[in-house]
Symmetry: C2
Subunit: 239 residues, 2 copies
DNA sequence: ACCTGAACACCGTTCAAGT
DNA sequence: ACCTGAACACCGTTCAAGT
């Protein structure tokens, strides 16, 4: 694979040229390539495994080379978030189904962040202004407008709903990084036993509800759906 | 202050004893003292300033000494969260006012975490099992039970509502660490101008709503209240 | 302009040695 | 049992030097 067409469709480099890439077809460093590599490292090694050295390694270079394209780790995280946001597909608004469409959008955020563990952390505490995020946000606003909500309510909801999905995904990511699914189930079982064994006179509710409090933890989707239902119900009440 | 009564009310150490504290009255190291110092460092230097060396420094010792009492930074964070949780005051349930009482509890979580920037991060992704958190949770469950909600709904709500407060506080903390209030206002103003200047044909909603989307950011409390209202309205609909 | 090797600064944690 | 100095491992970032 010595000759790959470059992203800009330049003519292929003839073999006698001195300007051939020094490594076998490896693309030159670029912001996009760095973001690609970083997402790959994140998916493979998790949040704790994502560092500038690992990203540089995946690109066959040293960490210092990244700083010619990216100001630092924080900017890199921002670019990764925007890449993922840009991949979101938001349907055209259907006023009849606005609540379901809004829910689908929030679910998509949740799933996107779950797919890249730890990335949710980078989305908390930033106002996304990249092209991908802006495009997704604009179409999300379209869904809320189709719901006939007042402008002030839309502005709040456009902030709160993604925050919910991000926070929930972040919490799940933390668990997933710390333990496997089986270990998680065992952990929840231990919590259940601990709750149930607490002195019932001092903690009457936790002890009596130990089962309900820990039952659904292996299936976090149901709890996510419940919270989403709470939010959208509360939103619809504002019409 | 050479003679302070020890936590266990041991008799004072006579001045001719060789077992007097080597430093002027400084208490011996303990988990509680370490948690105290860590909260002090956190409040003064923020999340980025909180490290084992700084905590040890505040106690007049070296970082290695902490590991005799605390297994590591993660456990220390857990202890700090539990300390703060234990300081929460939850009223006796009043079925007539259950919605307002639930809101007050969520507000208290939010404020507690705002008071200790970065601590919210430690609460995301853990099931709190310390004495302080368990006590607060039990009394919170009491408020939800007084609301006449089904057990399954209570179990979900007891997880979702604190998650909301924690996530919101975390987001605010990230901003607060990154910039002062004035810088934040200026930042939001720039975002407003950026949104308003986007091409209106491709981003019709963001451009037309630029004002509403950025108006309230200097006053995050209103948005927090709005999200809380959404959640509790959705919760009450489950009765 | 882009890339690189080497180094700096910082920090969580360990360990052998002290009392 | 508790504490400590010193060191190790790791990682974000910088910088002077290369092409």
């Amino acid at each position: 694979m010595a000759f790959v067409s470059s992203p800009r469709d330049e003519p292929p480099v003839p073999p006698w040229s001195k300007r051939r890439p020094r490594d076998s077809g490896r693309p030159r460093l670029s912001r996009d390539a760095i973001v690609d590599a970083a997402l790959g490292v994140l998916d493979a090694a998790g949040y704790d495994g994502l560092n500038m050295r690992a990203v540089a390694d995946a690109l066959g270079t040293g960490p210092a080379s990244l700083y010619a394209h990216v100001s630092g780790k924080e900017e890199l995280f921002g670019l990764m978030v925007d890449r993922v946001a840009g991949e979101m597909v938001v349907p055209d608004p259907d006023p009849e189904r606005w609540q379901e469409q809004v829910k689908d959008f929030v679910r998509a955020i949740y799933r996107n962040f779950l797919a890249h563990p730890g990335l949710a952390r980078a989305n908390l505490g930033t106002i996304p202004t990249g092209p991908g995020a802006v495009a997704a946000m604009d179409r999300f606003l379209g869904l809320l407008i189709a719901g006939g909500l007042p402008e002030r309510v839309i502005a709040y909801a456009a902030d709160i709903l993604p925050l919910y999905a991000t926070a929930y995904a972040f919490e799940q990511s933390v668990f997933a990084e710390r333990m496997t699914e089986e270990e998680g189930a065992e952990y929840v079982r231990q919590i259940h036993d601990y709750f149930a064994a607490l002195p019932a006179d001092r903690f009457p509710h936790i002890t009596s509800m130990a089962g309900a409090l820990t039952r659904d933890d292996p299936q976090p989707e149901a709890r996510f759906e419940f919270g989403l239902e709470m939010l959208v119900t509360g939103l619809a009440a504002q019409r």
